[in-house]
Subunit: 328 residues, 2 copies
Protein backbone atom coordinates (compact mmCIF):
# COMPACT_ATOMS: atom_id res chain seq x y z
CA UNK A 1 0.00 0.00 0.00
CA UNK A 2 1.38 3.41 -1.01
CA UNK A 3 1.78 5.98 1.75
CA UNK A 4 1.70 9.77 1.24
CA UNK A 5 2.32 12.51 3.82
CA UNK A 6 0.61 15.89 3.27
CA UNK A 7 1.59 19.21 4.86
CA UNK A 8 -1.95 20.58 5.21
CA UNK A 9 -1.07 24.10 6.35
CA UNK A 10 1.40 25.59 3.87
CA UNK A 11 -0.85 27.10 1.19
CA UNK A 12 -2.01 30.72 1.00
CA UNK A 13 -5.57 29.54 1.57
CA UNK A 14 -4.64 27.52 4.68
CA UNK A 15 -6.22 24.10 5.00
CA UNK A 16 -9.27 24.96 2.85
CA UNK A 17 -7.53 24.24 -0.47
CA UNK A 18 -5.45 21.30 0.77
CA UNK A 19 -8.52 19.61 2.33
CA UNK A 20 -10.43 19.90 -0.92
CA UNK A 21 -7.44 18.61 -2.89
CA UNK A 22 -6.88 15.68 -0.53
CA UNK A 23 -10.55 14.72 -0.68
CA UNK A 24 -10.54 14.72 -4.47
CA UNK A 25 -7.39 12.60 -4.44
CA UNK A 26 -8.83 10.14 -1.92
CA UNK A 27 -11.97 9.66 -4.04
CA UNK A 28 -9.79 8.67 -6.98
CA UNK A 29 -7.25 6.61 -5.01
CA UNK A 30 -8.99 5.14 -1.94
CA UNK A 31 -6.20 2.54 -1.72
CA UNK A 32 -3.49 5.11 -0.87
CA UNK A 33 -2.74 5.63 2.83
CA UNK A 34 -2.78 9.34 3.67
CA UNK A 35 -1.11 11.00 6.66
CA UNK A 36 -2.25 14.60 7.09
CA UNK A 37 -0.13 16.97 9.20
CA UNK A 38 -1.62 20.20 10.54
CA UNK A 39 -3.95 21.74 13.08
CA UNK A 40 -6.00 18.82 14.40
CA UNK A 41 -9.11 20.93 14.99
CA UNK A 42 -9.25 21.91 11.31
CA UNK A 43 -8.67 18.37 10.06
CA UNK A 44 -10.86 16.23 12.30
CA UNK A 45 -13.50 15.72 9.60
CA UNK A 46 -10.92 14.01 7.35
CA UNK A 47 -11.83 10.65 8.89
CA UNK A 48 -10.44 8.59 6.01
CA UNK A 49 -6.87 9.63 6.87
CA UNK A 50 -4.45 9.51 9.77
CA UNK A 51 -4.03 12.96 11.38
CA UNK A 52 -0.77 14.17 12.95
CA UNK A 53 -1.11 17.40 14.94
CA UNK A 54 1.16 20.40 14.32
CA UNK A 55 0.31 23.74 15.87
CA UNK A 56 2.88 25.94 14.13
CA UNK A 57 2.60 27.08 10.49
CA UNK A 58 5.62 28.21 8.48
CA UNK A 59 4.86 31.58 6.81
CA UNK A 60 5.38 32.14 3.08
CA UNK A 61 8.26 34.51 3.91
CA UNK A 62 10.10 31.87 5.95
CA UNK A 63 13.61 31.37 4.60
CA UNK A 64 15.84 28.35 4.18
CA UNK A 65 17.76 29.00 7.40
CA UNK A 66 14.82 29.93 9.61
CA UNK A 67 12.80 26.76 8.94
CA UNK A 68 15.32 24.58 10.80
CA UNK A 69 14.25 26.15 14.07
CA UNK A 70 10.54 25.58 13.39
CA UNK A 71 10.45 22.05 14.81
CA UNK A 72 6.75 22.26 15.70
CA UNK A 73 5.64 23.42 12.25
CA UNK A 74 3.46 21.28 9.99
CA UNK A 75 6.20 21.39 7.34
CA UNK A 76 9.00 20.03 9.53
CA UNK A 77 6.75 17.51 11.30
CA UNK A 78 5.46 16.31 7.92
CA UNK A 79 9.03 15.74 6.69
CA UNK A 80 10.04 13.94 9.89
CA UNK A 81 6.86 11.83 9.71
CA UNK A 82 7.65 10.90 6.09
CA UNK A 83 11.11 9.76 7.17
CA UNK A 84 9.97 7.83 10.26
CA UNK A 85 7.03 6.20 8.54
CA UNK A 86 9.10 5.40 5.45
CA UNK A 87 6.45 7.09 3.30
CA UNK A 88 6.54 6.90 -0.49
CA UNK A 89 6.07 10.61 -0.95
CA UNK A 90 5.45 13.99 0.64
CA UNK A 91 3.79 17.18 -0.60
CA UNK A 92 3.64 20.77 0.66
CA UNK A 93 2.39 24.09 -0.73
CA UNK A 94 4.50 26.02 1.78
CA UNK A 95 7.39 28.48 1.30
CA UNK A 96 9.61 27.08 -1.46
CA UNK A 97 13.04 27.89 -0.04
CA UNK A 98 12.07 26.62 3.40
CA UNK A 99 10.53 23.40 2.10
CA UNK A 100 13.43 22.58 -0.22
CA UNK A 101 16.10 23.13 2.42
CA UNK A 102 14.18 21.30 5.15
CA UNK A 103 13.53 18.38 2.76
CA UNK A 104 17.22 18.19 1.84
CA UNK A 105 18.25 18.38 5.50
CA UNK A 106 15.79 15.80 6.81
CA UNK A 107 15.56 13.32 3.91
CA UNK A 108 19.22 13.77 2.81
CA UNK A 109 20.60 13.83 -0.71
CA UNK A 110 20.87 10.68 -2.83
CA UNK A 111 24.53 9.57 -2.77
CA UNK A 112 26.34 11.13 -5.73
CA UNK A 113 23.98 14.10 -6.16
CA UNK A 114 25.77 17.44 -5.82
CA UNK A 115 22.67 19.59 -5.65
CA UNK A 116 18.95 18.78 -5.78
CA UNK A 117 16.91 20.46 -8.52
CA UNK A 118 13.28 21.49 -8.79
CA UNK A 119 11.78 19.72 -11.80
CA UNK A 120 8.60 20.50 -13.67
CA UNK A 121 7.19 19.65 -17.10
CA UNK A 122 5.76 21.79 -19.89
CA UNK A 123 3.09 20.57 -22.30
CA UNK A 124 4.42 20.56 -25.86
CA UNK A 125 2.02 22.73 -27.80
CA UNK A 126 2.83 20.92 -31.02
CA UNK A 127 2.23 17.31 -30.08
CA UNK A 128 1.01 15.60 -26.95
CA UNK A 129 4.27 15.12 -25.08
CA UNK A 130 5.84 16.90 -22.16
CA UNK A 131 9.20 18.63 -21.88
CA UNK A 132 10.94 18.19 -18.54
CA UNK A 133 12.56 21.37 -17.24
CA UNK A 134 15.12 21.68 -14.44
CA UNK A 135 16.19 23.51 -12.30
CA UNK A 136 13.22 25.85 -11.91
CA UNK A 137 14.22 27.35 -8.59
CA UNK A 138 15.93 25.12 -6.04
CA UNK A 139 19.13 27.15 -6.57
CA UNK A 140 19.66 30.68 -7.77
CA UNK A 141 23.12 30.00 -9.11
CA UNK A 142 24.74 26.78 -10.33
CA UNK A 143 28.12 25.46 -11.40
CA UNK A 144 28.73 23.87 -14.84
CA UNK A 145 29.13 20.49 -13.06
CA UNK A 146 25.72 20.87 -11.43
CA UNK A 147 24.12 21.65 -14.80
CA UNK A 148 25.74 18.52 -16.24
CA UNK A 149 24.25 16.48 -13.41
CA UNK A 150 20.84 18.08 -13.96
CA UNK A 151 21.01 16.77 -17.54
CA UNK A 152 21.41 13.25 -16.21
CA UNK A 153 18.73 13.67 -13.54
CA UNK A 154 16.32 15.10 -16.14
CA UNK A 155 17.02 12.11 -18.37
CA UNK A 156 16.09 9.75 -15.51
CA UNK A 157 12.91 11.74 -14.86
CA UNK A 158 11.84 11.79 -18.50
CA UNK A 159 12.41 8.04 -18.74
CA UNK A 160 10.58 7.21 -15.50
CA UNK A 161 7.63 9.56 -15.89
CA UNK A 162 7.12 9.78 -19.66
CA UNK A 163 8.70 6.53 -20.77
CA UNK A 164 11.00 8.24 -23.29
CA UNK A 165 13.95 5.90 -23.85
CA UNK A 166 16.56 8.35 -25.10
CA UNK A 167 15.28 11.81 -24.16
CA UNK A 168 16.81 14.62 -26.22
CA UNK A 169 18.52 16.92 -23.71
CA UNK A 170 19.01 20.60 -24.56
CA UNK A 171 20.75 23.37 -22.67
CA UNK A 172 18.79 26.60 -22.30
CA UNK A 173 20.70 29.44 -23.97
CA UNK A 174 20.42 32.84 -25.61
CA UNK A 175 21.35 31.38 -28.99
CA UNK A 176 21.19 28.00 -30.67
CA UNK A 177 24.84 27.78 -31.78
CA UNK A 178 27.63 26.36 -29.64
CA UNK A 179 29.46 29.25 -27.99
CA UNK A 180 26.27 31.07 -27.00
CA UNK A 181 25.08 31.22 -23.42
CA UNK A 182 25.99 32.53 -20.00
CA UNK A 183 29.59 31.91 -18.88
CA UNK A 184 28.40 28.96 -16.76
CA UNK A 185 26.28 27.65 -19.62
CA UNK A 186 29.21 27.72 -22.04
CA UNK A 187 31.30 25.59 -19.70
CA UNK A 188 28.38 23.23 -19.12
CA UNK A 189 28.04 22.80 -22.90
CA UNK A 190 31.54 21.37 -23.07
CA UNK A 191 30.77 18.89 -20.27
CA UNK A 192 27.44 17.83 -21.82
CA UNK A 193 29.09 17.17 -25.19
CA UNK A 194 31.34 14.58 -23.55
CA UNK A 195 28.69 12.79 -21.47
CA UNK A 196 27.88 9.28 -22.66
CA UNK A 197 24.82 8.69 -20.46
CA UNK A 198 22.66 11.41 -22.03
CA UNK A 199 21.47 12.22 -25.54
CA UNK A 200 22.70 15.82 -25.85
CA UNK A 201 21.07 17.84 -28.62
CA UNK A 202 22.73 21.25 -28.17
CA UNK A 203 21.43 24.65 -27.10
CA UNK A 204 17.77 25.69 -27.14
CA UNK A 205 16.29 29.19 -27.01
CA UNK A 206 13.29 30.27 -24.96
CA UNK A 207 10.99 30.58 -27.96
CA UNK A 208 11.48 26.92 -28.92
CA UNK A 209 10.57 25.53 -25.50
CA UNK A 210 6.94 24.71 -26.21
CA UNK A 211 7.69 23.34 -29.66
CA UNK A 212 8.68 19.91 -28.40
CA UNK A 213 12.20 20.01 -29.87
CA UNK A 214 13.65 18.83 -26.56
CA UNK A 215 12.47 16.25 -24.03
CA UNK A 216 14.64 17.68 -21.26
CA UNK A 217 15.75 21.31 -20.91
CA UNK A 218 18.55 22.11 -18.47
CA UNK A 219 18.98 25.55 -16.93
CA UNK A 220 20.41 27.21 -13.85
CA UNK A 221 17.72 27.63 -11.20
CA UNK A 222 17.47 31.40 -11.53
CA UNK A 223 16.87 31.55 -15.28
CA UNK A 224 14.71 28.41 -15.21
CA UNK A 225 12.47 30.02 -12.62
CA UNK A 226 12.15 33.22 -14.65
CA UNK A 227 11.32 31.20 -17.76
CA UNK A 228 8.69 29.10 -16.00
CA UNK A 229 6.94 32.14 -14.57
CA UNK A 230 7.17 34.06 -17.85
CA UNK A 231 5.45 31.23 -19.68
CA UNK A 232 2.70 31.04 -17.07
CA UNK A 233 2.24 34.81 -17.06
CA UNK A 234 2.08 35.08 -20.84
CA UNK A 235 -0.41 32.22 -21.12
CA UNK A 236 -2.62 33.64 -18.38
CA UNK A 237 -2.45 37.17 -19.79
CA UNK A 238 -3.36 35.99 -23.27
CA UNK A 239 -6.28 33.98 -21.96
CA UNK A 240 -7.60 37.08 -20.20
CA UNK A 241 -7.11 39.28 -23.25
CA UNK A 242 -8.89 36.76 -25.42
CA UNK A 243 -11.88 36.72 -23.10
CA UNK A 244 -12.00 40.53 -23.10
CA UNK A 245 -11.90 40.49 -26.89
CA UNK A 246 -14.76 38.02 -27.05
CA UNK A 247 -16.90 40.13 -24.77
CA UNK A 248 -16.20 43.43 -26.56
CA UNK A 249 -18.66 42.99 -29.44
CA UNK A 250 -21.98 41.17 -29.78
CA UNK A 251 -20.72 39.35 -32.87
CA UNK A 252 -17.68 38.14 -30.91
CA UNK A 253 -19.90 37.06 -28.02
CA UNK A 254 -21.89 34.87 -30.36
CA UNK A 255 -18.67 33.52 -31.82
CA UNK A 256 -17.41 32.68 -28.34
CA UNK A 257 -20.47 30.55 -27.62
CA UNK A 258 -19.69 28.45 -30.66
CA UNK A 259 -15.93 28.39 -30.25
CA UNK A 260 -15.89 27.71 -26.50
CA UNK A 261 -14.48 24.16 -26.74
CA UNK A 262 -11.47 25.44 -28.72
CA UNK A 263 -10.76 28.17 -26.18
CA UNK A 264 -11.17 25.76 -23.26
CA UNK A 265 -8.70 23.35 -24.86
CA UNK A 266 -6.17 26.14 -25.13
CA UNK A 267 -6.47 27.54 -21.65
CA UNK A 268 -6.58 24.12 -20.00
CA UNK A 269 -3.42 23.04 -21.83
CA UNK A 270 -1.42 25.87 -20.31
CA UNK A 271 -3.30 26.21 -17.02
CA UNK A 272 -0.73 25.81 -14.24
CA UNK A 273 -3.38 24.17 -12.05
CA UNK A 274 -3.30 21.24 -14.46
CA UNK A 275 0.37 20.66 -13.73
CA UNK A 276 0.33 22.09 -10.25
CA UNK A 277 3.46 20.60 -8.74
CA UNK A 278 7.20 20.46 -9.12
CA UNK A 279 9.41 17.66 -7.83
CA UNK A 280 12.50 18.26 -5.74
CA UNK A 281 14.80 15.76 -7.38
CA UNK A 282 17.98 14.44 -5.80
CA UNK A 283 16.79 13.72 -2.24
CA UNK A 284 15.73 10.40 -0.74
CA UNK A 285 12.03 10.40 -1.39
CA UNK A 286 9.44 11.75 -3.80
CA UNK A 287 9.08 15.36 -2.69
CA UNK A 288 6.54 17.57 -4.46
CA UNK A 289 6.14 21.30 -3.99
CA UNK A 290 2.64 22.54 -4.88
CA UNK A 291 1.98 26.18 -5.81
CA UNK A 292 1.67 28.47 -2.78
CA UNK A 293 -1.58 29.84 -4.17
CA UNK A 294 -3.00 26.39 -4.87
CA UNK A 295 -6.73 25.96 -5.20
CA UNK A 296 -8.34 22.66 -4.23
CA UNK A 297 -8.21 21.61 -7.87
CA UNK A 298 -4.55 22.47 -8.40
CA UNK A 299 -3.49 20.89 -5.10
CA UNK A 300 -5.26 17.73 -6.21
CA UNK A 301 -3.42 17.89 -9.53
CA UNK A 302 -0.10 18.25 -7.70
CA UNK A 303 -1.00 15.16 -5.66
CA UNK A 304 -1.61 13.31 -8.91
CA UNK A 305 1.89 14.32 -10.05
CA UNK A 306 3.25 12.93 -6.78
CA UNK A 307 1.30 9.70 -7.23
CA UNK A 308 2.52 9.34 -10.80
CA UNK A 309 6.12 9.78 -9.68
CA UNK A 310 5.68 7.15 -6.96
CA UNK A 311 4.08 4.73 -9.41
CA UNK A 312 6.95 5.33 -11.84
CA UNK A 313 9.38 4.38 -9.05
CA UNK A 314 11.47 7.36 -10.01
CA UNK A 315 13.62 7.42 -6.85
CA UNK A 316 14.81 3.84 -7.20
CA UNK A 317 15.57 4.48 -10.86
CA UNK A 318 17.63 7.57 -10.08
CA UNK A 319 19.48 5.83 -7.26
CA UNK A 320 20.28 2.84 -9.46
CA UNK A 321 21.39 5.12 -12.26
CA UNK A 322 23.72 7.02 -9.94
CA UNK A 323 25.17 3.79 -8.56
CA UNK A 324 25.76 2.44 -12.09
CA UNK A 325 27.29 5.75 -13.02
CA UNK A 326 29.80 5.44 -10.20
CA UNK A 327 30.62 1.85 -11.05
CA UNK A 328 31.41 2.69 -14.67
CA UNK B 1 15.44 66.72 -42.69
CA UNK B 2 15.94 63.44 -40.85
CA UNK B 3 18.47 61.01 -42.27
CA UNK B 4 18.37 57.21 -41.81
CA UNK B 5 20.94 54.64 -42.95
CA UNK B 6 19.69 51.11 -43.71
CA UNK B 7 21.81 47.93 -43.92
CA UNK B 8 19.82 46.26 -46.69
CA UNK B 9 21.56 42.88 -46.66
CA UNK B 10 21.49 41.55 -43.11
CA UNK B 11 18.16 39.72 -42.92
CA UNK B 12 17.54 36.02 -43.50
CA UNK B 13 15.48 36.90 -46.56
CA UNK B 14 18.23 39.09 -48.02
CA UNK B 15 17.15 42.36 -49.58
CA UNK B 16 13.60 41.16 -50.36
CA UNK B 17 12.23 41.92 -46.89
CA UNK B 18 14.27 45.07 -46.31
CA UNK B 19 13.24 46.53 -49.70
CA UNK B 20 9.58 45.96 -48.93
CA UNK B 21 10.00 47.45 -45.44
CA UNK B 22 11.88 50.49 -46.73
CA UNK B 23 9.24 51.11 -49.42
CA UNK B 24 6.42 50.97 -46.85
CA UNK B 25 8.36 53.37 -44.64
CA UNK B 26 9.05 55.77 -47.50
CA UNK B 27 5.35 55.89 -48.42
CA UNK B 28 4.55 56.96 -44.87
CA UNK B 29 7.51 59.31 -44.41
CA UNK B 30 8.51 60.75 -47.82
CA UNK B 31 10.29 63.59 -46.00
CA UNK B 32 12.94 61.31 -44.46
CA UNK B 33 16.24 60.99 -46.36
CA UNK B 34 17.16 57.32 -46.78
CA UNK B 35 20.62 55.92 -47.46
CA UNK B 36 20.50 52.25 -48.45
CA UNK B 37 23.67 50.16 -48.17
CA UNK B 38 23.98 46.86 -50.04
CA UNK B 39 24.44 45.21 -53.42
CA UNK B 40 23.79 47.98 -55.93
CA UNK B 41 22.34 45.62 -58.54
CA UNK B 42 19.61 44.50 -56.15
CA UNK B 43 18.78 48.03 -55.02
CA UNK B 44 18.80 50.04 -58.25
CA UNK B 45 14.99 50.22 -58.42
CA UNK B 46 14.89 52.06 -55.08
CA UNK B 47 15.13 55.38 -56.94
CA UNK B 48 13.73 57.47 -54.07
CA UNK B 49 16.83 56.77 -51.94
CA UNK B 50 20.59 57.21 -52.08
CA UNK B 51 22.35 53.87 -52.71
CA UNK B 52 25.79 53.02 -51.29
CA UNK B 53 27.32 49.87 -52.73
CA UNK B 54 28.63 47.06 -50.50
CA UNK B 55 29.50 43.70 -52.02
CA UNK B 56 30.11 41.70 -48.84
CA UNK B 57 27.33 40.40 -46.58
CA UNK B 58 27.95 39.46 -42.94
CA UNK B 59 26.48 35.99 -42.24
CA UNK B 60 24.11 35.34 -39.34
CA UNK B 61 26.83 33.28 -37.65
CA UNK B 62 29.36 36.14 -37.76
CA UNK B 63 30.63 36.91 -34.28
CA UNK B 64 31.55 40.11 -32.47
CA UNK B 65 35.27 39.75 -33.17
CA UNK B 66 35.04 38.64 -36.80
CA UNK B 67 32.94 41.59 -37.98
CA UNK B 68 35.78 44.04 -37.44
CA UNK B 69 37.66 42.50 -40.36
CA UNK B 70 34.63 42.71 -42.69
CA UNK B 71 35.30 46.28 -43.84
CA UNK B 72 33.53 45.77 -47.18
CA UNK B 73 30.33 44.39 -45.65
CA UNK B 74 27.03 46.23 -45.85
CA UNK B 75 26.90 46.27 -42.04
CA UNK B 76 30.26 47.96 -41.49
CA UNK B 77 29.86 50.32 -44.46
CA UNK B 78 26.39 51.28 -43.19
CA UNK B 79 27.79 52.13 -39.76
CA UNK B 80 30.68 54.13 -41.23
CA UNK B 81 28.27 55.92 -43.55
CA UNK B 82 26.02 56.78 -40.59
CA UNK B 83 29.00 58.28 -38.80
CA UNK B 84 30.38 60.22 -41.79
CA UNK B 85 27.00 61.51 -42.90
CA UNK B 86 26.03 62.36 -39.34
CA UNK B 87 22.83 60.37 -39.78
CA UNK B 88 20.04 60.43 -37.19
CA UNK B 89 19.72 56.68 -37.05
CA UNK B 90 20.78 53.32 -38.44
CA UNK B 91 19.05 49.96 -38.71
CA UNK B 92 20.18 46.41 -39.51
CA UNK B 93 18.61 42.95 -39.35
CA UNK B 94 22.05 41.30 -39.40
CA UNK B 95 23.81 39.11 -36.83
CA UNK B 96 23.12 40.59 -33.38
CA UNK B 97 26.52 40.16 -31.76
CA UNK B 98 28.32 41.45 -34.84
CA UNK B 99 26.06 44.47 -35.24
CA UNK B 100 26.19 45.46 -31.58
CA UNK B 101 29.96 45.24 -31.33
CA UNK B 102 30.55 47.00 -34.66
CA UNK B 103 28.11 49.76 -33.68
CA UNK B 104 29.84 50.24 -30.33
CA UNK B 105 33.26 50.29 -31.99
CA UNK B 106 32.38 52.67 -34.80
CA UNK B 107 29.87 55.02 -33.15
CA UNK B 108 31.51 54.84 -29.69
CA UNK B 109 29.82 54.77 -26.29
CA UNK B 110 28.16 57.84 -24.79
CA UNK B 111 30.54 59.28 -22.16
CA UNK B 112 29.68 57.78 -18.79
CA UNK B 113 28.06 54.61 -20.12
CA UNK B 114 29.79 51.45 -18.87
CA UNK B 115 28.06 49.04 -21.20
CA UNK B 116 25.42 49.49 -23.91
CA UNK B 117 22.17 47.56 -23.53
CA UNK B 118 19.65 46.20 -26.00
CA UNK B 119 16.26 47.71 -25.18
CA UNK B 120 12.82 46.59 -26.24
CA UNK B 121 9.28 47.18 -25.03
CA UNK B 122 6.45 44.83 -24.16
CA UNK B 123 2.78 45.69 -24.56
CA UNK B 124 1.02 45.70 -21.19
CA UNK B 125 -1.83 43.25 -21.59
CA UNK B 126 -3.85 45.01 -18.92
CA UNK B 127 -3.84 48.59 -20.12
CA UNK B 128 -2.47 50.29 -23.20
CA UNK B 129 1.03 51.14 -22.05
CA UNK B 130 4.40 49.60 -22.76
CA UNK B 131 6.98 48.19 -20.39
CA UNK B 132 10.59 48.90 -21.34
CA UNK B 133 12.89 45.92 -20.88
CA UNK B 134 16.69 45.95 -20.85
CA UNK B 135 19.15 44.30 -21.41
CA UNK B 136 17.68 41.73 -23.79
CA UNK B 137 20.93 40.46 -25.20
CA UNK B 138 23.78 42.93 -25.72
CA UNK B 139 25.69 41.16 -22.92
CA UNK B 140 25.44 37.64 -21.59
CA UNK B 141 26.68 38.57 -18.15
CA UNK B 142 26.57 41.88 -16.26
CA UNK B 143 27.92 43.43 -13.07
CA UNK B 144 25.64 44.94 -10.40
CA UNK B 145 26.93 48.39 -11.41
CA UNK B 146 25.90 47.80 -15.03
CA UNK B 147 22.41 46.75 -13.92
CA UNK B 148 22.15 49.95 -11.88
CA UNK B 149 23.06 51.97 -14.96
CA UNK B 150 20.54 50.05 -17.06
CA UNK B 151 17.88 51.22 -14.59
CA UNK B 152 18.83 54.83 -15.32
CA UNK B 153 19.06 54.27 -19.08
CA UNK B 154 15.67 52.55 -19.08
CA UNK B 155 14.21 55.49 -17.18
CA UNK B 156 15.52 57.88 -19.87
CA UNK B 157 14.05 55.64 -22.61
CA UNK B 158 10.65 55.35 -20.96
CA UNK B 159 10.53 59.13 -20.51
CA UNK B 160 11.63 59.92 -24.07
CA UNK B 161 9.58 57.31 -25.91
CA UNK B 162 6.48 56.90 -23.76
CA UNK B 163 6.42 60.23 -21.94
CA UNK B 164 6.22 58.63 -18.50
CA UNK B 165 7.55 61.18 -16.02
CA UNK B 166 8.59 58.93 -13.17
CA UNK B 167 8.73 55.42 -14.60
CA UNK B 168 8.48 52.67 -11.99
CA UNK B 169 11.67 50.63 -12.29
CA UNK B 170 11.68 46.98 -11.22
CA UNK B 171 14.48 44.44 -11.10
CA UNK B 172 13.74 41.05 -12.67
CA UNK B 173 14.03 38.34 -10.03
CA UNK B 174 12.91 34.87 -9.01
CA UNK B 175 10.91 36.26 -6.10
CA UNK B 176 9.25 39.55 -5.22
CA UNK B 177 10.83 40.06 -1.80
CA UNK B 178 14.15 41.79 -1.18
CA UNK B 179 16.85 39.13 -0.84
CA UNK B 180 15.60 37.09 -3.79
CA UNK B 181 17.49 36.97 -7.08
CA UNK B 182 20.74 35.89 -8.63
CA UNK B 183 23.91 36.85 -6.73
CA UNK B 184 24.44 39.78 -9.15
CA UNK B 185 20.79 40.77 -8.85
CA UNK B 186 20.95 40.87 -5.05
CA UNK B 187 23.89 43.27 -5.15
CA UNK B 188 22.17 45.37 -7.80
CA UNK B 189 19.09 45.62 -5.55
CA UNK B 190 21.18 47.35 -2.90
CA UNK B 191 22.53 49.86 -5.43
CA UNK B 192 19.08 50.55 -6.91
CA UNK B 193 17.61 51.22 -3.46
CA UNK B 194 20.09 54.06 -2.97
CA UNK B 195 19.72 55.70 -6.40
CA UNK B 196 17.99 59.08 -6.36
CA UNK B 197 17.54 59.47 -10.13
CA UNK B 198 15.18 56.52 -10.57
CA UNK B 199 11.86 55.48 -9.07
CA UNK B 200 12.75 52.00 -7.81
CA UNK B 201 9.80 49.74 -7.09
CA UNK B 202 11.54 46.50 -6.02
CA UNK B 203 11.76 43.05 -7.58
CA UNK B 204 9.39 41.70 -10.22
CA UNK B 205 8.80 38.08 -11.27
CA UNK B 206 8.43 36.84 -14.83
CA UNK B 207 4.70 36.20 -14.52
CA UNK B 208 4.00 39.84 -13.67
CA UNK B 209 5.81 41.28 -16.67
CA UNK B 210 2.80 41.77 -18.95
CA UNK B 211 0.62 43.06 -16.12
CA UNK B 212 1.92 46.60 -16.35
CA UNK B 213 3.16 46.77 -12.75
CA UNK B 214 6.48 48.19 -13.93
CA UNK B 215 7.36 50.75 -16.61
CA UNK B 216 10.97 49.63 -16.80
CA UNK B 217 12.28 46.12 -16.06
CA UNK B 218 16.02 45.66 -15.59
CA UNK B 219 17.76 42.33 -16.16
CA UNK B 220 21.12 40.94 -17.09
CA UNK B 221 21.35 40.37 -20.84
CA UNK B 222 21.28 36.60 -20.67
CA UNK B 223 18.10 36.24 -18.60
CA UNK B 224 16.45 39.19 -20.38
CA UNK B 225 17.01 37.48 -23.71
CA UNK B 226 15.58 34.19 -22.46
CA UNK B 227 12.54 36.02 -21.08
CA UNK B 228 11.92 37.94 -24.30
CA UNK B 229 12.09 34.81 -26.43
CA UNK B 230 9.97 32.79 -23.98
CA UNK B 231 7.22 35.40 -24.15
CA UNK B 232 7.31 35.43 -27.95
CA UNK B 233 7.36 31.66 -28.16
CA UNK B 234 4.46 31.22 -25.73
CA UNK B 235 2.36 33.83 -27.51
CA UNK B 236 3.05 32.34 -30.93
CA UNK B 237 2.45 28.78 -29.74
CA UNK B 238 -0.85 29.74 -28.13
CA UNK B 239 -1.99 31.52 -31.26
CA UNK B 240 -1.27 28.41 -33.29
CA UNK B 241 -3.01 26.11 -30.82
CA UNK B 242 -6.03 28.37 -30.80
CA UNK B 243 -6.28 28.24 -34.58
CA UNK B 244 -6.01 24.44 -34.50
CA UNK B 245 -8.77 24.32 -31.91
CA UNK B 246 -11.00 26.53 -34.04
CA UNK B 247 -10.50 24.33 -37.07
CA UNK B 248 -11.06 21.03 -35.25
CA UNK B 249 -14.86 21.11 -35.21
CA UNK B 250 -17.48 22.61 -37.50
CA UNK B 251 -19.11 24.40 -34.61
CA UNK B 252 -15.77 25.96 -33.67
CA UNK B 253 -15.15 26.97 -37.29
CA UNK B 254 -18.44 28.86 -37.32
CA UNK B 255 -17.53 30.43 -34.00
CA UNK B 256 -14.18 31.52 -35.40
CA UNK B 257 -15.84 33.40 -38.26
CA UNK B 258 -17.81 35.43 -35.74
CA UNK B 259 -15.03 35.84 -33.20
CA UNK B 260 -12.26 36.68 -35.67
CA UNK B 261 -11.86 40.32 -34.61
CA UNK B 262 -11.24 39.25 -31.01
CA UNK B 263 -8.63 36.72 -32.03
CA UNK B 264 -6.95 39.21 -34.37
CA UNK B 265 -6.74 41.76 -31.56
CA UNK B 266 -5.00 39.22 -29.38
CA UNK B 267 -2.47 37.95 -31.86
CA UNK B 268 -1.64 41.42 -33.14
CA UNK B 269 -1.00 42.69 -29.63
CA UNK B 270 1.70 40.10 -29.05
CA UNK B 271 2.93 39.75 -32.63
CA UNK B 272 6.66 40.52 -32.58
CA UNK B 273 6.37 41.98 -36.07
CA UNK B 274 4.38 44.81 -34.52
CA UNK B 275 7.32 45.74 -32.31
CA UNK B 276 10.01 44.39 -34.59
CA UNK B 277 13.07 46.24 -33.36
CA UNK B 278 15.26 46.68 -30.33
CA UNK B 279 17.45 49.72 -29.66
CA UNK B 280 21.11 49.46 -28.75
CA UNK B 281 21.21 52.09 -26.03
CA UNK B 282 24.37 53.75 -24.81
CA UNK B 283 26.15 54.49 -28.09
CA UNK B 284 26.28 57.78 -30.04
CA UNK B 285 23.31 57.42 -32.34
CA UNK B 286 19.94 55.75 -32.60
CA UNK B 287 20.84 52.16 -33.44
CA UNK B 288 18.03 49.68 -34.06
CA UNK B 289 18.44 45.93 -34.51
CA UNK B 290 15.56 44.36 -36.46
CA UNK B 291 14.75 40.65 -36.18
CA UNK B 292 16.99 38.45 -38.34
CA UNK B 293 13.91 36.74 -39.75
CA UNK B 294 12.16 40.04 -40.48
CA UNK B 295 9.40 40.11 -43.05
CA UNK B 296 8.76 43.29 -45.03
CA UNK B 297 6.04 44.22 -42.55
CA UNK B 298 8.16 43.68 -39.46
CA UNK B 299 11.18 45.45 -40.95
CA UNK B 300 8.92 48.40 -41.65
CA UNK B 301 7.68 48.27 -38.06
CA UNK B 302 11.28 48.29 -36.80
CA UNK B 303 11.93 51.36 -38.97
CA UNK B 304 8.95 53.02 -37.33
CA UNK B 305 10.51 52.29 -33.92
CA UNK B 306 13.72 53.91 -35.16
CA UNK B 307 11.81 56.94 -36.45
CA UNK B 308 9.94 57.28 -33.17
CA UNK B 309 13.21 57.20 -31.23
CA UNK B 310 14.71 59.88 -33.48
CA UNK B 311 11.61 62.06 -33.12
CA UNK B 312 11.76 61.61 -29.35
CA UNK B 313 15.36 62.88 -29.45
CA UNK B 314 16.30 60.06 -27.12
CA UNK B 315 20.08 60.29 -27.63
CA UNK B 316 20.28 63.96 -26.65
CA UNK B 317 18.12 63.24 -23.62
CA UNK B 318 20.33 60.39 -22.49
CA UNK B 319 23.51 62.39 -23.07
CA UNK B 320 22.14 65.34 -21.13
CA UNK B 321 21.01 63.07 -18.33
CA UNK B 322 24.45 61.47 -18.07
CA UNK B 323 26.14 64.89 -18.05
CA UNK B 324 23.76 66.15 -15.33
CA UNK B 325 24.38 62.96 -13.41
CA UNK B 326 28.13 63.63 -13.45
CA UNK B 327 27.71 67.27 -12.45
CA UNK B 328 25.62 66.40 -9.39
Amino acid sequence: MKKIVVDMMGSDLGSVATKEGVSLFHEKHPDVELILVGKEAELKDMTFAKIVNADDVVEMTCGALEVIRRKGSSMVIALNTAKEENADGIISAGATGAFLSAATLILKKIPGVQRPALVTAFPQLEGNGYTTLLDVGASNTNTPEELAQFAFMGTCYSRAVYGIKEPRVCLLSNGSEEGKGSPVGKEAYQLLKEMKNINFAGNIEGDKLLKGLADVVVSDGYTGNVMLKTTEGTAKGMGKLLKQGFMSKLRCKIGYLFAKPAVKLLTSKLDPSNVGGAMLMGVNGVVVKAHGNSTGKSFHSAMEVLYHLIEGDVITKIKDAFVEEKAE
